[in-house]
């Protein structure tokens, strides 16, 4: 069944969109990522103009995140205090990111920077997580092996402005989540994603939060980042297609429920290992696109003024 998308100006199969939404929603419920890093390339692949894809998937991320946060909240798996500190850093970072975006566009290589950022962060994050979770699984197989210290003291713990995050059982400097939120905010604005796929591993490895809490907390923060992105895109560029967004959302909320339930049955290191594989796979797929000779070296850009 075909439907015409009024802003994207194309017709597309309704079931395809529902399926994409459901798939990404499932993964976002499972891993606590908004799914933007997956949805944007998929939408572009099925023919949605990149600008519309980036803007409209932000709405899908909002719905999937709200649905995910509520599901995790029911289980008491959201650290709202941590989420708000991350968010404060994130909003400041996204302002810098939007400015950086316009600078890069003026230079004329924004597409390449975005593609390289995707490839770099997806591969790095994926590889790090894969190594760590394989290590964790191996340690579990051999319980007699030396256990990792529960708490390692580094220079990080000497930072000022210490704050107690009771839910996460952490007593760390507020500068850490602020700085993390800030850095991810910059990237999120540049890459047009919520940034969950960077945030989740960073919260686990840099902040040392329990995996069970990370998913819900990251989703909580992603809601607001995605709202920011969606509003700016709709207001400045008129690229949010609500028909497209609505169909993706519909699939996503259903998928997210299943994802969250399924995720509750998996252990932390299994969850991390699977997310690592997924992130790595997308990173490699995008990297090959950069390296493999394109089908046609020419491409068209329609000027906005004439269209």
């Amino acid at each position: 069944m075909q439907i015409y998308l009024p802003i994207a100006e194309m017709s597309i199969d309704v079931l395809l969109l529902l399926g994409l939404g459901g798939l990404v929603g499932f993964l976002s419920g499972l891993f606590g990522v908004g799914g933007g890093f997956l949805m944007t390339p998929l939408l572009i692949f099925v023919g949605v103009p990149p600008a519309v894809a980036v803007a409209s998937q932000a709405n899908q991320v909002i719905a999937a995140s709200v649905s995910g946060v509520l599901a995790h909240w029911r289980r008491g798996n959201v650290d709202f205090k941590m989420g708000l500190v991350l968010l404060a850093g994130g909003l400041a970072g996204s302002l810098i990111g939007v400015w950086l975006y316009s600078v890069l566009r003026r230079i004329g290589q924004i597409d390449l920077v975005i593609a390289l950022a995707y490839v770099f962060f997806l591969s790095a994050v994926g590889a790090l997580m894969a190594v760590e979770s394989i290590g964790a699984m191996m340690r579990q197989r051999r319980p007699q092996a030396a256990r990792r210290k529960l708490h390692q003291h580094t220079w990080v713990h000497g930072l000022p402005l210490k704050m107690r995050f009771r839910r996460s059982r952490l007593y760390i400097s507020a500068l850490l989540p602020l700085g993390l939120g800030f850095g991810v905010g910059i990237l999120a604005a540049l890459m047009g994603v919520g940034g969950g796929f960077i945030m989740v591993p960073a919260m686990i490895y840099l902040l040392g939060m329990p995996t069970a809490l990370v998913v819900g907390t990251s989703l909580f923060q992603v809601i607001f980042v995605a709202i920011n992105v969606s509003f700016l895109q709709a207001w400045q560029n008129q690229t949010v297609d609500v028909v497209l967004a609505f169909l993706l959302v519909l699939g996503a909320v259903i998928g997210a429920e299943f994802g969250t339930r399924f995720g509750a049955r998996l252990r932390g290191e299994q969850l991390r290992g699977l997310l690592a594989l997924l992130v790595l796979a997308v990173g490699i797929a995008l990297a090959t696109q950069l390296v493999v000779p394109p089908e046609d070296v020419y491409s068209l850009t329609h000027s906005l003024a004439g269209g």
Binding site: Y4, I7, A63, F231, Q233, V242
Partner: protein
């Protein structure tokens, strides 16, 4: 804005119809099965039938052009192992849609000079590029532009066929794909005898979004901030709804 556009187009249509009648008597009369293509929520592309009658012998050529805009053609090349955009030529006045139908291959109907004057066929299509672009590079970018537009279904790959019913009546179909840009299109019908244009008529065709899709599009552009907020609200509610439903269940 849409209303004024349609009004202007109709005005232009009456003017051209009247003009055509005076200029070339009644050697050629043609019309479309539909002067308005409405892009609705279920739009998946459509055929428009063009039919008409001519006087005496001769061949018929039909040219359909969409509104023009400028299009940048970018070329990728390999830099340090990575494919990136390195070159660009911008063409102004590129028709957003271009299709030619004829009763015989156009080369057999008219000499190159006539084809050029009426921009019949891709080789005769006038695409304005900056003058400093050297000819070889221009040729590559030009053919790339045509190839990409053909791939998108907006430039018709093969010329269509104008078929005759008896000696006077003729008809042809023009297909508009789902991704067809909106605007005022011009359908030019030419009658050629012995390589000369002896009859011509231009009819406008309006492609416009109507109904829910059109209102949404206008809303998104005219009340962008409110549109954005509503879109966010819908997403928030959609994310929240299953939570309520599941708790009740």
């Amino acid at each position: 804005m849409r209303v004024t556009l349609i009004a202007l187009a109709l005005l232009a249509w009456f003017a051209t119809v009247a003009g055509a009648r005076i200029a070339v008597a009644a050697s050629l009369v043609a019309d479309l099965s539909n002067h308005l293509i409405a892009i609705t929520t279920g739009f998946t592309g459509t055929d428009v039938l063009l039919f008409g009658a001519k006087e005496g012998e001769g061949d018929v050529v039909v040219i359909v052009r969409g509104p023009t805009s400028s299009i940048s053609v970018r070329k990728k090349s390999r830099v340090a192992g990575i494919w990136m955009n390195t070159d660009r030529v911008t063409f102004s006045n590129v028709p957003s849609f271009y299709a030619v139908s004829s009763s015989k291959p156009v080369e057999e109907i008219a000499p190159a000079s006539v084809l050029a004057r009426h921009q019949i066929g891709f080789s005769q299509l006038k695409l304005a590029a900056p003058p400093q672009v050297d000819p070889e590079r221009l040729r590559d970018f030009r053919s790339a532009l045509i190839r990409r537009q053909q791939r998108a279904g907006l430039f018709m790959r093969e010329p269509g066929e104008v078929s005759f019913l008896g000696n006077t009546l003729f008809r042809t179909n023009v297909y508009f794909p789902a991704n067809v840009p909106v605007g005022v299109y011009l359908v030019e019908v030419l009658l050629l005898q012995n390589g000369n244009v002896t009859g011509a008529q231009t009819t406008p065709l309006i492609i416009s979004k109507v109904g829910f899709g059109a209102e949404l599009f206008d809303f998104a552009h005219q009340r962008a901030a409110i549109y954005g907020l509503i879109a966010i609200l819908i997403s928030l509610v959609a994310g929240w709804l299953p939570h309520i439903l599941l708790r009740k269940a």
